[in-house]
Symmetry: C2
Subunit: 328 residues, 2 copies
């Protein structure tokens, strides 16, 4: 069984780890070996101090490779910050972004390989040889695409800010007018990305940020069309539970695009494939049974289950519920 | 009094530290404030894992800034290697070069500023704001010049190897046929470099490697001509004591260019200005009194003094002896 996941960072990585745990269970798949492909958002990538940082790819690698800092959700377990503490002495800025010593090894290896001329997809494959994530990790694009946030400028005009600067440095405080994916116009889907959607047996939108993670992947030329064309069912898991983002600041992102922070509103934002959207089914948390009923009344296929990814077994059950919703 | 030093890494840095200590003494200069400019070899610079490393500039900054790893002679005191230990897990090579966590902060700050478009001279000035080296630190050139070693290839032919790879990774073991400065043809002297020679009151060739450190600086277009034209006396301190390099593997470098490893041979290699060379005077160690007599018989102005830079006061005395030789 081929499963394809469109993922951002922490939420998507944790979900995929649960999905892999579920698929490894002896009674799953009835003898059909499963193969998981993760299409990762690279819109958060940035050049920092001359090295290329790919937050979502790294979080996926570390989480699936078993070396993530568990409480934090990103970065390496046992991390230190000798370099960063010293770099502050040079006063060259950029210190709002955490660059741990171990994490930096990833950025340096990646930057070296990129400078040698390898595309990001091959660089990612090379880095994954070390971490053995148990899934194919595909950057959404080999071209540089960077999400920027349009915020109020000092003169009442507009100002562009890299998404990571808005998110990490300013904790999403400046009101976002909209998001702009710089480079997206001329970008194309990375090698294997469209095929992973078209040839899948099931496609999953995990509880990642629907605007700047999954939304950015969907905006890559060809991806939305592949989702429309694939014979695989597409199931999503709501990142909104009880009217709030489970993690991160998805509400600030949703507000910017005029979408209410609710499980039902995000479903309608994605839309049903039957009506030109990308979803066949939607899994919401048990606290959102009301939203489920409302969507079902409108003809949606909706599942209800506990969706808090408190640990790997709980997350495996969420993955099982999502798969059951479309595969029966 | 304006003093200009043409320096490589460890030897030149230690000498300059002693020179600064000497010039700070109350009875020196008779009220004339002194100003020291160091023209640093950048031929050892390299791109490693996507960041720019400048070994000699760093050694000068750390040594003059008081943060060098004293026993080692290069790198930072209190250094750690968390990043490097982890990077080895990616198997991308380059692990023959030590990249300490603190040292890496310098490389990242430098790479960021270079990528922002600043020339190396301005980047160096910026980094020196932190370390306050007490001397003007000038890269010999703003263009990338990289010393390569021509060694025997596997097929009996020739093979090019970056100097740092030959020196650090292979401990200068493969016989060097010759040295090639890649990029030198199109390089020009960095801002202030020629003026620092032309306007100096005294120019010093410290006990740096005469082939790949001082030799490379001398090969930068205009530098040798400036040394010929300057009204300042030029004094050198022999890096060879008792027929051996005090530090490093200068003998392997001298052999490649057909120069004997002796205090007299290096002096003749540099040559007297009166005869088209670059030196007015030459300071040798007390164990090389024989070489001094031989050179003096040929009309050289030669000084004899203990030249082992065992500590800062001893090095200050060497600087004093060198200055006394040409300034009286």
């Amino acid at each position: 069984m081929k499963v394809t996941v469109l993922s951002g960072g922490v939420g998507g990585a944790r979900f995929t780890r649960g999905l892999l745990a579920h698929l490894r269970m002896p009674d799953v798949g009835r003898g059909r070996p499963s193969e998981v492909t993760v299409i990762a958002n690279t819109g958060d990538d940035l050049w920092l101090h001359g090295v290329r940082v790919c937050p979502d790819l790294d979080t996926l690698m570390y989480t699936l490779g078993g070396v993530v800092h568990e409480e934090q959700g990103w970065g390496r377990r046992g991390e230190s910050s000798h370099m960063a503490a010293d770099l502050a002495g040079y006063d060259v800025g950029g210190d709002w972004f955490t660059l741990g010593d171990l994490d930096l090894a990833t950025h340096l290896a990646r930057t070296q390989l990129l400078r040698e001329g390898l595309p990001l997809s091959q660089v990612t494959e090379r880095l994954c040889r070390r971490w053995q994530p148990g899934a194919h990790l595909l950057p959404m694009s080999d071209q540089e695409v960077e999400t920027h946030v349009v915020v109020d400028g000092p003169d009442g005009g507009e100002q562009l800010m890299h998404f990571e600067e808005w998110w990490v440095r300013h904790r999403a405080a400046p009101a976002a007018r909209r998001f702009v994916q710089v480079g997206l116009d001329t970008a194309s889907a990375g090698p294997g990305v469209l095929a992973a959607v078209l040839d899948a047996d099931v496609v999953i939108l995990p509880p990642s940020n629907p605007v700047v993670s999954v939304g950015t992947i969907l905006a890559v030329p060809g991806v939305r069309a592949a989702l429309e064309a694939t014979t695989a069912p597409v199931v999503g898991i709501s990142p909104i539970v009880g009217g709030a983002a489970v993690r991160g600041m998805a509400d600030q992102c949703l507000r910017a695009i005029g979408v209410e922070t609710s499980a039902a509103a995000v479903a309608r934002h994605y839309g049903r494939r039957a009506e030109g959207g990308v979803l066949d089914a939607w899994l919401v948390d048990t606290v959102d049974a009301g939203a489920a009923a409302e969507l079902a009344a409108d003809g949606w296929r909706v599942g209800v289950a506990p969706t808090l990814m408190t640990d790997v077994p709980a997350t495996a059950r969420i993955a099982a519920a999502a798969l059951a919703l479309v595969l029966g």
